[in-house]
Symmetry: C2
Subunit: 129 residues, 2 copies
């Protein structure tokens, strides 16, 4: 993949991911597969259902993500073509708070046999300051 | 790999990486291979030599990293066994400054045929705030 291709994949995924998260995070389910892993503030979850249960169970109804940086690189995949490793920094604002929280998140996207990508690795951390 | 194994790999790599970085960063060379990639504050480098040139050229002689969190997950590799994706947050203090800077860094480690791991993907960002 040329540089612009995996950067496009990363940017498109990130835009879709946070737009969906902020509108109705139950709709993130198709982005995960049974082998997907989420580490959320150090807590580990495996499989689309367990991951979605965690995300939909977060104790706020409204949230707004604002992306500041997106870095993307090709990553090894079990079969060609390659995956895309995406590293995001940004802020999020949850309902009832006026204080944006800084966060960093890593997605390792793997190609689906049907085209497109799913999220194999997902790691999220708030950056307390 | 069981959970404890890839967490051990991640922790051992991170400890070794920053200890080496802070003592003599030219010694990081063996951790990279020709296919390794570094994205440093959005700038891209490929190959051990180009990466080391960037790291050794950073405009400070002394630096101290302090790791706050390490998250590790198994990641896809072109051949089994799997790789290890490591997500770090911490602070760094460069000479002449009393202000620790927050950073996040992602390493995607791939197994070497000779045993051990090398760093395939490396992405670094300061978290301004």
């Amino acid at each position: 993949m040329a540089a612009s291709q995996f950067e496009q994949v990363g940017r498109a995924f990130v835009e879709h991911y946070y737009r969906t998260f902020d509108a109705d995070r139950a709709q993130l389910l198709p982005l995960y597969q049974p082998q997907s892993m989420l580490t959320f503030e150090g807590q580990q979850f495996q499989g689309a259902q367990a991951i979605l249960q965690k995300l939909t169970g977060l104790p706020f109804a409204k949230v707004q993500h604002q992306v500041i940086t997106i870095d993307s690189q090709p990553s090894p995949a079990q079969n060609s073509p390659t995956g895309v490793l995406v590293f995001v920094s940004g802020t999020l604002l949850v309902e009832g708070s006026e204080q944006p929280l800084k966060f960093s998140q890593v997605f390792n996207l793997m190609p689906l046999p049907t085209g497109g990508y799913f999220c194999f690795n997902d790691m999220f951390r708030l950056n307390y300051g």
